[in-house]
Amino acid sequence: MTQPTKVRSLAEAVRLISDGDVVAFGGHTARRHPMAAVREIVRQGKRRLHVAGWNNGIDMDLLIGGGCVATVETSYIGIGSLGLARNYRRAAEAGAIRIIEHSETTAMDRFRAASMGLPLLPTKTGLGTDLPRYNPHLKPFTDPFTGETWLAVEAIRPDVAIIHAHTADEKGNVQLDPQRWHDNSPDAMIARSAKTVIVTVEQIVSEDAVMARPIDTILPRSDVTCVAEAPYGAHPCCCDARYDYDMEHLRRYYEATATVEGFADWLAEFVTGLEDHLAYLDKIGARSLMGISMKRTVRP
């Protein structure tokens, strides 16, 4: 039997998402979020999504501003050192979205439990705080060995998970570069928690390239539904040692989101008015992209 190819176009991959789905996103603060997929979700006009992550930023803020989100579940949404996420703020302050509150560890434990095949993980985080009141997935239980009270963090089973990685072969074996930032290590847990797993990658590579360094495979193909090639697919977020934040673009986004009208103009210019991810890269331009590109290995 031949192994099927798992390569899809970004548009085909995003069509696997239905309105109302629970969709989990990889990445951290302004790091390696699957931004090309986020923009395609907005382009395809997905609605009423329940978005989940463990520490988020422009990914969720853009989806909220794009009208795609009903429920948010994470520990943080901000635009790094620039300030608060303004689409998120507006929606929250208008009471327009439901927010499920998490600490970093409980947000991770939702994915971790599912990725381990467990229904829950125990935690002390959240005891004595308001978190359980605003999070139906944290419930007290008694440790049968000690009689102590803990909170159970319920496993999450997202309909779809989307992460952005460095490379994959056509069969869907996904790798990260050896030099990578460990803040994104929960990406594998996020993927393994979900029913459908979309991985966007900087490059599709040969099977030989994958097999030459199997220790860098974070998801073997059995964990992956499809892979879509999206070079600079985390832009304007950074992508470990491959490219830096695009601070100029992030600042432009942050300033545009000061008003609803400003964001609408930004969205038309950089997302809905463009056909696809390659048109977006043309729009950002080779000079800007080369400006944030780093040597693959930065050694002192």
Partner: protein, 269 residues
């Protein structure tokens, strides 16, 4: 305060450095900029190095995933490609780095908040009702974890009536709860907030878990502290002036540890 020849950041740094314990481990987050950076990253970083050099203690600092980086080679930009190249003893996975808290190995967590109450509980979620807040903030982040598990926490924040409040709008991180003994009753492993360092004073916690002023910064009056806080202020019986940095501490900070102001003047991009 006009005759002082040191900055507030230097004063707080020296105070934190005197508190850190030999053999301890401290966690410093990296997610902020500007003044928040000075309080959350700058002061703890320089304080730990000052404690090592001036007091000769062994103290492990953990910047998120990165353990014991070489402060002499601190990058001038904290974006990932530079952080990845920062010479350090270890980079562990993020879930592992937070497990040091859960295992009770973290001596001190450095925290902050948009609001704090008299028992050291913190809010980083919202101002106003959660369903429709006046201001939506970033969320609990890892502060709930720090405050639950660390042996103790140091809170660093600016003190005024908006931040030091009688009642939090949302309790995202546990301090000393609602009543004495709450942490023990909840079975929470860590000891909770031990000190609060502000622009006006240093606060400790009494046996009931109630915040009280331990020392006033030079030229700050009791009245100024009372006026800047939204709850009744307790003062320690032996209220003192916050001890100023000595010349050797200042020399180490300025000439050796942070000569370019990367940490205490937030010059890191």
């Amino acid at each position: 305060m006009s005759t002082r020849d040191y900055s507030l950041a230097e004063l707080l740094t020296v105070c934190v450095a005197r508190e850190l314990e030999d053999g301890g481990q401290g966690f410093i987050g990296l997610g902020t900029g500007g003044r928040a950076f000075i309080m959350a990253v700058g002061v703890p970083s320089v304080a730990a190095e000052l404690a090592r050099r001036y007091r000769g203690i062994d103290f492990i600092t953990q910047y998120g995933c990165t353990f014991e980086p070489d402060l002499k080679k601190t990058p001038s930009n904290f974006a990932d490609p530079y952080l990845l190249a920062w010479p350090s003893k270890a980079q562990v996975r993020v879930e592992e780095c937070l497990e040091y808290f859960r295992r009770g190995r973290m001596t001190v967590g450095f925290t902050s908040g948009a609001q704090i109450d008299a028992r050291g509980n913190l809010n980083t979620v919202c101002i106003g009702p959660h369903e429709k807040p006046k201001v939506r903030l970033v969320g609990p982040i890892a502060q709930s974890d720090h405050c639950t598990y660390a042996k103790y926490t140091y809170v660093l924040m600016t003190q005024d009536r908006r931040t030091f409040v009688p009642k939090l709008d949302f309790r995202s991180a546990l301090g000393h709860g609602d009543a004495p003994g709450d942490r023990k009753r909840l079975g929470v492993a860590g000891g909770g907030p031990r000190k609060v360092f502000t622009d006006l004073a240093i606060w400790e916690f009494d046996d009931d878990g109630f915040m009280r002023v331990e020392s006033l910064h030079p030229a700050v009056t009791m009245e100024a502290v009372t006026a800047s806080v939204g709850f009744p202020v307790r003062f320690a019986e032996q209220l003192v002036e916050t001890p100023a940095p000595n010349p050797e501490e200042l020399r180490l900070i300025r000439n050796e540890i942070d000569p370019d102001g990367l940490f205490l003047e937030a010059r890191i991009a």
